[in-house]
Symmetry: C2
Subunit: 357 residues, 2 copies
């Protein structure tokens, strides 16, 4: 049964995720079958499963959009990919529409997100378009002591902040602030640091702050201990000590909470860039006019263009962004327990579910 | 007394603005004395005078930052400007600091705004740095049937939205929305139209909408008649009819009101750009995460870099942006009555106060 394929299906809000067999073979033209190495558990998955955020594909649906694996069968026009190790983009643009042709693939109206538009990565196999796949050099992978499953999180947790950092234009000498240094924000810190930024990490969790202090953050601040204007004042003091600018801070909001977004907005200074990376359904109350008064900007970004994946992967394969210390692998068949554990904040690292082949 | 100089001083919140003589001569090195042709009355002036917004310079202070005139005396190093017709930038950067040298003059910490940092334009004369002055070709000016006083509004009402339009990158084929088509928004419509955008104008004032329909707006919408999602739906229908994109709208918020900002934010779609041009002290309640979900952005801009003034002036001198139909000139010595009339919304055009020389 080496080729038997299984996937875990969400059938309803909070209902037990159920195993189902399926047949991914043969892939259609332009598609490939990927034997999954690992699939990361993202808060977006929990949003669908616990909070009632609607998936675009009707239930039952296999969740999971942080996928790495190996191509085991190729459809017509996809022969190049045979037997290659790959990362599947969390958002797969069509590559042919007007938006894609104008280089705006993140707003492609035909984009497919595994675990939302199509069956996702909590499975042994997945069928995806070959377009946008990111090839992994396994010799380099071995050299950094990671395995292919570790790289699954590149598909969202690493590339989404990577695109935000590129879009914001982080350069050496910049003062960068990351609010919320969990599964996504931790990579925002590492990436901004790798590109030359001096990074201030903010969170409400001491353990996360302690860990990120060893992985790129030059200063860590507990938001609970610095109410109101004290947070901004602490960063101003730090900037002065380090000889960094008191203007043009680049702020990454990665907590995806109302309080976090309001905190991040309050840190806007002259010429600042606020990058909205985390998502919450909640509205926030902010003085939008500050963007005008400070000549500042707020940038959102959805997923990451596949064209940026190779550069993000390069940072990981060069050892400049570490993935392995931030993930913990669990067998895929424990998916129900792991979802519950993540939901209850019991895990310290991002969970990657690994199928048995 | 051809050279006697007078200015009108704000002495306190809502107190009668009082005439005072002063001596602007001789200007210091790098400075010039401008004999003022006209100075526009901006809502920012009313904010200082009626709402208690603090000026940076202590009272008494001469307000007014939309200034055109003629250089009548030059200090050392400013001889070039002798006898030239000029527009004085509303925000004058120092030109030598770190921010200025990096091309970020709008966040220059040493910038001078007439009527805020230094005595302003409700006067017969003003002393300003020569740096940043915008020269006016009076032959071209005569050809469009305008006079130098008409051009005063270029210093803020025209150039501020001009910088916003340039920053947003409006190009032919773009669907542009301008919310609030008063003193500033009316120029946003004209400028975006001149650069090839198809412009939808939104306001709550039928007269303003009727006027802008004759000056660049392809569609006018009364926000009061289109509650909730109906406004966005109406623009979507228009886009479809015109064969314009249903994504990447470029929205200019020029009302400077809480309701207007919330309306403008609600129009964000995939790849949209929201330009925050108007100012209000009020906070707004918005779902900031929509910037992320739609891969959209919100851009603020403060004033306008002097380097952009010549191009904005060119649009006016080429007749592509009309100024004269949108201003009404009044004698400077009626300043108290005109402030009151603007405050009570009694004027249909932007008031320009003209001194007698």
């Amino acid at each position: 049964m080496a080729n038997a394929a299984f996937r875990w299906m969400m059938t309803g809000l909070g209902q037990p995720i159920a195993l189902a067999q399926f047949d991914p073979f043969p892939p259609a033209s332009g598609e490939v079958v990927v034997e999954i190495a690992g699939c990361g558990v993202c808060h977006t998955d929990l949003g669908y499963y616990y909070d009632g955020v609607r998936t675009k594909h009707d239930l039952p649906l296999t969740l999971g959009h942080e996928i790495s694996g190996r191509v085991v069968e190729t459809g017509a026009d996809a022969a190049y990919w045979a037997d290659r190790a790959v990362i599947v983009p969390a958002v797969i643009p069509c590559g042919t529409c007007d938006a894609c042709r104008r280089g705006k693939s993140t707003i492609c109206p035909n984009q497919k997100m595994p675990g939302n538009d199509i069956h996702g990565g909590f499975a042994t196999h997945i069928v995806v378009p070959a377009h946008g796949l990111c090839e992994v050099d396994e010799t380099k992978l071995k050299a950094i002591g990671a395995d292919l499953a570790d790289l699954s999180v590149i598909a969202d947790a690493v590339t989404t902040p990577y695109q935000a950092v590129i879009q914001a234009g982080v350069r050496p000498g910049d003062l960068v602030i990351v609010n919320g240094v969990g599964g996504v924000g931790g990579y925002a810190v590492q990436i901004a640091h790798a590109l030359g930024g001096t990074v201030v990490a903010i969170d409400v969790n001491e353990a996360k702050l302690a860990k990120i202090a060893e992985n790129g953050a030059a200063l860590t601040l507990d938001a609970r201990a610095l109410p109101g204007r004290e947070l901004k004042a602490a960063i101003q003091t730090f900037a002065k000590e380090r000889g960094l600018r008191k203007t043009e801070w680049i702020i990454f909001e990665c907590s995806g909470t109302r309080a976090g977004q309001e905190t991040a907005f309050s840190l806007i200074n002259h010429g600042a860039t606020l990058c909205v990376v985390g998502f919450t359904m909640d509205k926030v109350e902010v003085r939008l006019s500050n963007l005008m008064a400070y000549h500042a900007r707020a940038l959102g970004n959805w997923g990451c263009s596949p064209e940026l994946y190779p550069a993000a992967l390069d940072l990981v394969l060069a050892g400049r962004v570490k993935v392995a210390p931030f993930v913990e692998k669990h067998p895929l068949d424990q998916i129900n327990q792991i979802f519950a554990a993540v939901h209850h904040g019991e895990l310290k690292r991002r969970a990657v579910l690994v199928p048995v082949h």
